[in-house]
Structure formats: C-alpha cells, structure tokens
C-alpha cells in the first residue's frame, strides 16, 4: 500500500491530472464521510471535504513517504473539522442524518419504523457522547478505521482510544436498553448478514 501511495503521490507531483482525480476518488468517500459525521451538516461537510483535498494536494510534497497516506489525509480532515466546529461554536441538530429517512433497501426482519427509530436512537446516543469519544467511536465503527489509523489521526494513544470506544459502546447500549431497543438490536442480528454499507442518496 505504501508503494501504491508513493506512486500516486509521485504522479500528482508530476502534475498528472488523472493522478489528482485518482487521489480524490480514492479518498473522497472516507473524507466526505468523516466530515459529514463530525460536522453533521451536509453543505458544510462538502465544503470542508473540498478544502481538505485542496490542502492535501498543495501539501503533498511534505508528505512523509514512510507513512501511509490514509491517516495523513484523515488527520487533515479531522483538524479541518475541529477548526470548523470551533468556529461554529454550536452543535447541529441530528435532523440532518439521512438514515432518519426510511431506507427502502432495508431487507431486515424488523419493520422500517423500528429500523429508523433504532437508527435515530443510536444517533441521539452517539451525539450525547463526549466529543473525543464520539469521534473515536464513529471512526472505528462507521468508517471502519483501525485503532492504529485513528491513533495517528487523532494523535491519541491506542489504549486511550480503546477505552473511549468501549465507554461509548456501553453508553449507547445503556441508552438503547433504556429506550427498549435491546430486542430490536437482537432481532437485527438474527436477520443474518449485515446490511450493505454502500452510499445512499441524501438529497432529502
């Protein structure tokens, strides 16, 4: 992967426009997703994600080729999001989340109503977490990053991250149990393989 990153960066630095496109397309889902989850505002997330790529491309000559590219650009994204959140000084309402809209592709055994209510409650619980714990939880579970990658991006020891993620899980589960969603979670599990993690339009 490192040589792959190196090759891509070298092509970008040589001014290859196709390489720029490859670079953006390789990481756009990750960066856009992270920005969206952290900022919880679609338009702001798009703006910040664009800014992240522009900054990353301008700084490619400073990238340390001994380290993977993914955590590097992720760090830029998280820093930009933090700056944006700091500027904003408020936390947005979770009404922006697309999963609150009925997911027509849901083929699980539970009703759409239950599924959406469950997702909503998960969101509410996640939003109630402390900011650093929320970031760690989202990056680990939603974005599927490894602890090593998150540690690099957040500049936090892995042990601390594991503690944060663990506490987050417990708090979310307690919240769901309080709301009577424990059975729904078990039913979701009973339905078999996990749902597709593909993108969903959030035009609504």
């Amino acid at each position: 992967m490192l040589s792959d990153d190196q090759d891509l960066v070298d092509r970008c630095l040589a001014g290859d426009e196709i390489a720029y496109r490859d670079f953006v397309e390789r990481y756009q889902e990750l960066i856009h997703g992270v920005c969206y989850r952290l900022l919880r505002d679609r338009h702001e997330a798009e703006d910040v994600a664009q800014e992240v790529f522009l900054r990353a491309i301008r700084a490619l000559d400073r990238w340390d080729s001994r380290r993977p590219l993914r955590p590097w650009i992720l760090t830029i994204a998280i820093n930009r999001c933090r700056t944006c959140l700091g500027r904003r000084g408020r936390r947005p309402t979770p009404s922006e989340y697309p999963e609150m809209i009925a997911d027509p592709r849901s083929d699980s055994g539970e009703s759409h109503l239950d599924a959406n209510e469950l997702d909503t409650e998960i969101r509410v619980a996640v939003d109630s977490l402390r900011e650093d714990q929320r970031q760690a939880f989202l990056l680990f579970h939603e974005q599927g990053l490894s602890y090593e990658e998150i540690s690099d991006a957040l500049a936090t020891p892995i042990g601390t991250l594991k503690t944060w993620v663990h506490r987050s899980r417990k708090r979310i589960l307690d919240h769901l149990k309080d709301k009577g969603f424990a059975e729904v979670l078990q039913a979701a599990l009973a339905c078999g393989a996990p749902r597709s993690t593909g993108s969903q339009s959030d035009d609504g």
Partner: protein, 246 residues
C-alpha cells in the same frame, strides 16, 4: 465462570477485532471461553447479542453519498502548476538552513539583550566594550568636568543645540529655555542641567567614548554651531575661539 468485568473485557476485545462482522450469526467467531459463558448464562447471551447487534447496526448505517461532481469541483480549483516534490537532500538542506537561521535569530536576541544597558537587570553590571579586561582603564568624565569643559570652550551654542541636549535627557522645564536666549554666550554651558548630565553619564557609564558617541548621535542634525560646541569632546576638530587680546 467469569466475573462480569472479565466477561465484558473479553467481549470488548473480541469486538475490537471485528471478528463478529465476519460470520453470519456473529457468535461463531466468539472465543471458546466466551461461548461457554453465553451458553451457560442466558443474560450474558442477550448482552453479547445486543453488543453485536449494535456493532452491526452502526457499521451498516447508510453513508452520505458523495456528490457526483465532487472530484471535478476540486480539480477545477487546483493551481495549474503542481507542487514540486522536495528530494531528501533538499529537505535536509532546508531543515539545516532553518535550524541555522533559528540559532542565529536566538543569538541576535541574546546579543541585543546583553548589549543594551537599559534592558539589563539592575543587579547586573553591564560592561561596555571599552572596559573589558585587557582593554586598559576607560576614560571617564564626571558632570563637573563636562560643565567646566563646556564653559572653557567659550563657544556660542544655538538654542537648537540645547534643546537637543536637554530634551532627551533634561530635567529643566520649558520656561528656562526662553530665559537662556537672553543670557551671555559664555554662560550657556550652565544651561546644561545637572540632572541631564548625570543622566547622560549614567547612560554611558561615564565612559568618554560613549559620551562622545551619544552626543554625536544626538547632535548630528545640528550643524556648525553644534559641532563647535562638542568639539571639546573629541568629536570633530576643536574650534574654540581664542580670547581677543587686549
């Protein structure tokens, strides 16, 4: 049988490995000891299932779609010239230059601080360059000597001269400046306020060379009369008018 904490820790470690995402039931990948626990205790089984259900649900939440023209928008904002990659040699060179510049800046600050008597702590004696060991005894002036010297020149000094001498150092009020216009030229030296002289000598540590430099600096804008005024200090050629012989 595991206690609650051990069970939770083991479940947590298993979750961190994400093994539960690899099998359909979520439980098949459980380590043997954990599986025994959930088989034995229905409550723990429910707990484990809830944990796995949450993990699956969170990881499968629909992700926001990236706009179709996202890459185009970024590429449109890119500068036409690509950044040049710095080679390892260049990077090292830049780092060394940066370090040298930083050290030089620090040294300059240190030198500036130590060479300015005003900025030195009161209990630290600032030694002017002329008085460093080995340079010989410095030539010093006392206020009285300065006044006497000024009187002995017998020169006429302009008002501008005195203003220059006194304004940065002086302690006299402005009314005295008006009075001195009417005084006899030979008495002008007395208009140098003792406080001003003290201040000047204090600033220069009484070092004659520094007194001259200071005077020269302060009187530079004033022309002929001024030069004749401080010529006794050794700056410029002495132009002391001789007393007319009767």
């Amino acid at each position: 049988m595991m206690d609650d904490q051990t069970f939770e820790s083991a479940l947590n470690a298993w979750w961190d490995e994400r093994d539960h995402l690899k099998d359909p039931s979520g439980l098949e990948s459980l380590p043997e000891e954990l599986r025994r626990e959930i088989d034995r205790d229905p409550q723990r089984r429910d707990d484990a299932l809830a944990w796995i259900g949450l993990a699956r649900r969170v990881s499968s939440l629909p992700k926001p779609a990236v706009p179709g023209d996202f890459a185009d928008r970024i590429l449109a904002q890119l500068p036409t010239k690509a950044p040049r990659r710095r080679g390892p040699g260049t990077r090292r060179f830049v780092a060394v230059i940066g370090a040298v510049a930083a050290v030089a800046a620090c040294l300059l600050v240190v030198v500036a601080l130590t060479s300015s008597p005003d900025s030195a702590p009161s209990d630290v004696a600032v030694v002017p360059p002329e008085t460093r060991p080995g340079d010989g005894p410095p030539e010093t002036l006392e206020p009285e000597m300065l006044v006497v010297d000024l009187r002995q020149t017998g020169a006429t000094y302009s008002k501008a001269f005195w203003e220059l001498v006194e304004s940065p150092l002086g302690t006299e009020d402005s009314s005295s400046a008006t009075e001195r216009e009417d005084d006899h030229p030979e008495a002008t030296a007395l208009f140098v306020a003792p406080g001003a002289l003290d201040e000047l000598l204090k600033e220069t540590s009484g070092n004659a060379e520094r007194v001259r430099a200071k005077m020269s600096q302060r009187l530079a804008p004033v022309r002929e009369t001024t030069f004749s005024a401080f010529s006794f200090l050794g700056v410029g050629a002495p132009q002391v008018p001789e007393e007319p012989t009767i």
